[in-house]
Symmetry: C2
Amino acid sequence: MKVTNGETAQLGTIEKVVNHFSDNRPTKDCPVTDVLCRISDKWTMHAIISLGKAEKLRFTELKKKIEGISQRMLTVTLRTLEEDGFVTRTIYPQIPPRVEYALTPLGRSLVAQIMSLSNWASENMEEVFKARERFKLN
Amino acid sequence: MKVTNGETAQLGTIEKVVNHFSDNRPTKDCPVTDVLCRISDKWTMHAIISLGKAEKLRFTELKKKIEGISQRMLTVTLRTLEEDGFVTRTIYPQIPPRVEYALTPLGRSLVAQIMSLSNWASENMEEVFKARERFKLN
DNA sequence: CAGCATCCATGACGATACTG
DNA sequence: CAGTATCGTCATGGATGCTG
């Protein structure tokens, strides 16, 4: 890992990130980017948050909580979360069907991370919005 | 803010996130989601990280560091970062042109957040990959 | 109820060519 | 050098209809 000029490690802990981003290669070859990309689509965060506050939810309950999501996208989102080990999908074989979704321990630890990011965003959004205003005035 | 059932605040601090996600509305009306969406596209993280370790970079230097990015996307990405107040763009009126990009204080505080997420990802990616393997075997 | 299958619109992104 | 402009492609996601 090298920098263009001489200053290599002035930023301390930032280096840790840089290492995991393995010199800025796009998604493949970089597991960190891989994971981040999985949770940064249009609905995943909302699904995780909803499950985080409810412990356990049925498909239709989730659909109600995540305002605006289509049935298709809820299914897709939940399957991806299940695939990555963030949620469990429990099917009760009865008619009509009953399927319950819940966070895994891994999913819960992810919620904590999202919380942190979310708090940062809420603390700094004012400044971001001001910056956008300034930018509009060229 | 209301929950479907009776259990409202069992999760403590998670509520803080939930509040900022304002009952799970998509992007508009939710500043947190708004900000998160801005940094979670294909290239933004890479640009921020690169600037985070270099203090100051020219356009072409950035292009070299962010492997695979096109000229167009680098421009678009940097404009958005500038618009949101995460980077500064300094033009030196000379021929050939010289433009330098650097993180603002706001941008630096964002790097710290990305670091945290990145560290979480690197610590847990093993488990995610294992989960994917299990999922493949149905 | 909890999906799956299909079609379609939109926008993100890449490739290429041109310029002050 | 640091862009802008244009075009083509592809993935994301919405709408709709069908089903065990």
